[in-house]
Symmetry: C3
Subunit: 157 residues, 3 copies
């Protein structure tokens, strides 16, 4: 396994992931994860306190799919989009076909009327399955800097 090729692949995965969300192709979102994955959105405080649950939690690709279905059906929220900016990305240990990766992000939220605001900042702590292509997230922890989680957190981060 070529180290540089893995790095490029990891960057591409992270870029494709935010593109999928920001362009509202949410039905494709679960496919960025392995079947038996771990996805969690939580706050820094909860994460540092060792809590394994957060405001959003999924332990399988099926749960991610359910979430998208619910989000599409409910439709009770005010339409909006995100724009993720990610960087820098750090690729750490690559072992047993899994790469440990962390990156900083901000998500800008754009409401239907065009109102734009800084919605969230934080970091991604990832365990990425790089044993086969396409690369997929085995674990993605979204650690929000602020404990003031917006009630409008419906779209995944």
């Amino acid at each position: 396994m070529n180290d540089l090729a893995v790095r490029l692949g990891v960057h591409e995965l992270i870029a494709a992931y935010v593109d999928c969300i920001d362009e509202d192709r949410l039905e494709e979102w679960p496919d960025f994860f392995v079947e038996k994955c771990h996805y969690l959105i939580t706050s820094r405080q909860s994460h540092e306190a060792g809590y394994r649950h957060g405001v959003v939690y999924a332990a399988s690709r099926g749960m991610l799919k359910d979430r998208v279905l619910a989000l599409r059906r409910a439709n009770i929220f005010e339409p909006h989009r995100y724009r993720h900016i990610v960087g820098p990305i750090r690729v750490g240990k690559i072992e047993g076909g899994v790469a440990e990766v962390r990156s900083n992000f901000v998500a800008v939220r754009v409401m239907h009327d065009g109102e734009t605001s800084l919605f969230a900042s934080g970091r991604y702590l990832d365990r990425i399955d790089v044993s086969a292509e396409p690369y997929r997230f085995a674990e993605r922890l979204v650690i929000l800097d602020s404990q003031k989680i917006d009630t409008l957190l419906v779209i995944p981060l």
Copy 2:
């Protein structure tokens, strides 16, 4: 054509481009484009509706030069600068000497009195001529997330 060398070159072009704008060396800006280029700033809504025109449009390097001249002469706007943050960058298909690239950006605007705000967010959809050095934009579409285009959009994005 080495794929990795092209990727590095594309990153460098995108970085040099925003550096040129953010450091107010606008006279150098047209040189980032091929002679017969296509530059467009538009909103997501207009872009998705298939409109090929936007708030700013240029179909040649000469038109870009005219724009800079007008901007320097007019001087009717309140002095300000941008700071672009770009990332992640995706290099897609490279074919016939042209690379398809897309990236996310935010532009922070800093007014003369130091007032700083989140000005714009969106993505760049690029077709980059990588057949010769220096690389140049054959097409750069600037797709703004918000349809509320600030009337103070004078400096290119």
Copy 3:
């Protein structure tokens, strides 16, 4: 010295640097610099006017350590954290074991109550010692876009 390896190492250094600050491991921060370093936070206006001093200035690793000690002891400021987003990064001339690098950044500030705001934007102008591992900053100039420096500038940028 392999050019690509240097580039990757520079990216890693910049990522590790902001990770150290954003995760409040400030005691490790001085170790990102060579012993006889130059660290400066200043405004664009001061920098362009050629002033070599700014709101924060250090000419050795020892001075950086003193700064962290003072910051930890004083504790008079309202607790807060930053989240840095950096990109794009440009690696310029690599000569005599030193790489010239520049990058754009924004720092989001998160107060103890979770209040989040765009705190600062600007660029890093770096001279990085790449003659030995780990890479270290010989010089890091933090050029803020705004001359309105927040009085709450205690944590390094």
